[in-house]
Symmetry: C2
Subunit: 149 residues, 2 copies
């Protein structure tokens, strides 16, 4: 059976958000939240635009998803994010009791895994979806930034 | 020399914010951000009102403080918060490069200390300011809530 709505399909949507961030001069990370194969939130990093460290893609996506649902818990939701979440975003997912996190590129230094951030016991993790594409857009951004300075 | 602007003075302001949360039926946690003895942000937990797990007092205070300063880094700022920050809020303080965290009551289960959340290397920590008052308002809230249900 053809399954058009798989992890790759949704990660491509998150990558589109990362491209929007790139075009704004933001570190290109994108996120979407999916509920029953429906995208209920889309967001990209806006920390520079908003002058606000809390404006990571995931945080905005959680806020938007909760607003859509009309409740703060995201138990049946899947977060697709191009980069491994940080402590802040993983910590937010704990409070939201998020169903699943699917991420693309790893972040060994500031990602939640190596830093040991505690997730909600029911949150599943899938890593490495479109990993190369998710990492490449970040590399492209930092190379461009270095060349401009 | 009399020092009117000490940790107790500012924690009382954070406690006032916790009282505002209490009156709204929110878990009573309050926070302020201080820059050079000036309060530049005040906030209290609004997770129920906003249906949003990211609306912890500290997160809102960081956003408001950065807005006041016009920059996202809070290197010279002190966060006063009635309860030990969670992973999410401590993680946000890392990105903000916050100068100092002063908290009242400890949170052994969900607080950042026992969960080992990484702070910015320059962030100082002071614990236990008005600890009893900060804990009592939480106890009062949960007793009242239990009696209502």
């Amino acid at each position: 059976m053809i399954q058009p709505f798989d992890d790759v399909y949704f990660m491509k949507k998150a990558l589109q958000e990362a491209e929007f961030a790139f075009d704004k001069g933001e570190v290109p990370v994108g996120a979407i939240v999916v509920l029953k194969n429906q995208i209920i939130a889309r967001a990209h990093n806006l920390t520079e635009t908003l002058n606000d460290v809390t404006a990571h893609a995931e945080m905005q996506a959680f806020t938007a998803a909760a607003d859509f649902i009309g409740g703060k818990y995201l138990k049946d939701c899947v977060l697709y994010v191009t980069l491994e979440p940080c402590q802040m975003c993983a910590g937010a997912s704990y409070w939201a009791q998020l169903g699943k996190i699917v991420y693309g590129a790893s972040e060994p230094e500031r990602g939640f895994r190596n830093l040991g951030t505690k997730l909600h016991p029911k949150t599943e993790i899938v890593a490495g979806i479109l990993e190369n594409d998710c990492a490449q857009i970040l590399k492209r951004f930092f190379i461009q930034k270095r060349n401009l300075n």
